[in-house]
């Protein structure tokens, strides 16, 4: 874990997003893509969501700011609220200032002629001055390593570079809740790490609520305080990562792997080697457990 990152701010009791028995079915699908999903996300949480392909993760993200069912239509039932506002009664334009959504496909989000304009578009649209917009643009660009692209057209960039620009564009708007829907899937591992650490900084220092949908289970287990596992439109687990990983069967059934260090600990347990009291979530925790094991003292 990055030692530069300060202690986490406490999670507030105020609710940012609430889904209550939500069901959703696309016009072309035969089954519900969301099946009786209830979820409360509180202000200041870092929530990780993972699951098998087709589990409903993207649809869940779109239900969090009203894109489902207001833009992507279908058969919706139940209730979804953002800061207490029903997504059925408030326009997406209003809800999107509270909840910023970053998708897997950067092409769908990049519209301006230069990267700098792309990053400034959001803050300017939300009433920031040019100076403020430029400041946040350069701050985020530096962290995401895209400063050298600021004057280039987004269309000239590689897929991974475009994705970094799309993430940066959402971050410069500074919404209270950031939802990243597999937004790091095309990035190299070091940039993935940087994006997770950036979100962590936004979370820890600015109290932002982060909802990260990802298959990057090692990064999720290190950064998320709570892990939601989805399968076939349902939430099958919703616990702190250390608790969630104890339910190995749930992960095996959904085809989602565990972090390698957690898998190592569980594998050794199965062989009768006691290895820490809790499954390790990070390399550092696992190293401590190894030291304790080989010196005869358990964590």
């Amino acid at each position: 874990m990055n030692s530069d990152i300060p202690e986490r701010s406490p999670i507030s009791s105020s609710v940012e997003i609430q889904l209550d028995h939500v069901n959703f079915r696309y016009p072309t699908s035969k089954t519900d893509v969301l099946n009786d999903v209830s979820l409360i996300v509180r202000k200041g949480e870092f929530l990780g969501i993972t699951g098998s392909a087709g589990a409903g993760k993207t649809t869940l993200c779109m239900a969090m700011n009203g894109l489902v069912p207001n833009y992507t239509m279908g058969n919706f039932s139940g209730k979804a609220t953002v800061k207490g506002k029903s997504t059925l009664e408030h326009p997406i334009s209003e809800l999107s200032t509270d909840v910023g959504l970053i998708f897997q496909d950067p092409e769908s989000q990049l519209i301006m002629s230069t990267v700098e304009e792309e990053l400034m578009f959001g803050p300017i649209s939300h009433g920031k001055t040019m100076t403020e917009a430029l400041e946040s643009t350069h701050y985020v660009a530096k962290i995401l390593g895209i400063t050298e692209f600021l004057k280039r057209s987004p269309q000239t960039l590689s897929g991974g570079q475009k994705q970094r620009v799309a993430i940066a564009a959402a971050l410069t708007v500074n919404p209270d809740v950031l939802v990243l829907d597999e937004a790091t899937s095309e990035l190299d591992p070091v940039t993935v790490q940087r994006v997770f650490e950036l979100c962590r900084t936004f979370h820890d220092q600015l109290g932002k609520t982060i909802i990260m949908v990802s298959h990057e289970i090692e990064f999720l287990s290190e950064h998320a305080e709570r892990l939601v596992l989805m399968d076939h439109g349902r939430i099958v687990l919703d616990r702190a990562p250390a608790e969630a990983f104890k339910d190995v069967d749930a992960f095996r059934k959904t085809g989602v792997r565990l972090p390698q260090v957690t898998e190592l600990a569980l594998s050794l347990h199965e062989k009768g080697i006691a290895f820490g009291r809790e499954p390790p979530l990070t390399t550092e925790e696992c190293l401590q457990d190894l030291k304790s094991l080989l010196s005869g003292n358990r964590r």
Binding site: G51, S52, A53, G54, Q104, S158, G159, G160, Q161, R164, E182, S185, E186, L187, D188, P189, V190, T191, V192, Q193, H215, E218, T254, G255, V256, R257, P259, Q260, V261, E263, L264, S267, L268, K271, G272, I273, F275, T283, C286, L287, L290, K291, L293, L294
Partner: protein, 274 residues
């Protein structure tokens, strides 16, 4: 026997100002399983396009089974190399799985019976019997990828290039596609895998090539490359978590070159006296 692929003093630029690839020299033997890794923008996808002949070198040359891509016909290269795209929708266009797999074969002057036999074999091998009449784009991503691989394999290529085949996939689909690729490699087909997923590199590739800012930063046995933490840091790469653990645990007696959880578990048991 010819090398499967030779890259000789290879330079490439799209716009004459930015050199995307600089002086790449590399030989790949038939039947190798090679991973190409590097951060975003390091030139990996460009290198694949050069190998398959979609673009030609600015300087230097690419030899495929001894044939220079600058002078070879596209159809000649297409018989030797299969290209597996990151997004399966980029290569699916027929109205049924059966037609998709048969499409390439129809250009090879084969009889209808030979085509039918080849397609039947591929459908069985890739377990597509139940969906053979389905519109390929309606399939789940994992099945779409099987159709793409089947369409490539029926053409009998000796080399398959895979550009990020497991990006955005869950572990089950990722493993399924990698196991299929491994099976094809077992038949002697040369595999070139471009990926960011270091777990797959560690588990499947025998040799790894590292690109950094358009240059070949290193190449060698995967174990040596992924455990070289100084190299990985210099190229902005991150070894798999279990490899990082084994590097951090060198002081405890681990060799710092573990590639899989199973290897690490075995080492722990040995050191623990079990």
């Amino acid at each position: 026997m010819n090398e499967a692929i030779v890259l000789e003093n290879l330079w490439f630029t799209y716009d004459k100002t930015n050199q995307v690839l600089r002086n790449i020299n590399l030989s790949i033997k038939p039947g190798e399983f090679i991973a190409i890794i590097g951060n975003n923008g390091s030139g990996k996808s460009t290198l694949l396009k050069l190998i398959v002949g979609l673009i030609k070198p600015t300087v230097g040359r690419v030899l495929i089974d001894g044939v220079d891509t600058r002078t070879a016909k596209v159809s000649e290269l297409a018989r030797k190399i299969g290209f597996f795209f990151q997004n399966p929708n980029d290569q699916l266009f027929a109205s049924t799985v059966r037609d998709e797999i048969a499409f390439g074969l129809k250009n090879l002057n084969l009889s209808k019976e030979e085509i039918r036999q080849n397609v039947d074999d591929a459908i069985r091998e890739f377990q597509l019997v139940e969906v053979e009449d389905v519109f390929p784009r309606f399939l789940a991503r994992g099945d779409k990828q099987k159709v793409c691989l089947a369409s490539i394999i029926v053409m009998g290529p000796r080399i398959i290039l895979l550009d990020e085949p497991t990006t955005g996939q869950d572990n089950r689909d990722s493993r399924a596609i990698m196991d299929l690729v491994t099976k094809l490699n077992g038949r002697g087909i040369t595999i070139i895998l471009v990926t960011h997923q270091m777990i797959n590199v560690a588990e499947y590739a025998t040799r790894t090539v590292v690109l950094n800012n358009g240059e070949l930063a290193a190449e060698g046995p995967t174990r040596e490359i992924l455990s070289n933490i100084e190299l990985m840091r210099a190229c902005d790469l991150l070894p798999p978590q279990i490899t990082r653990l084994s590097i951090s645990a060198r002081d405890l007696g681990f060799d710092g070159k573990m590639m899989t959880v199973q290897e690490m578990a075995d080492a722990v048991r040995r050191l623990n006296g079990a």
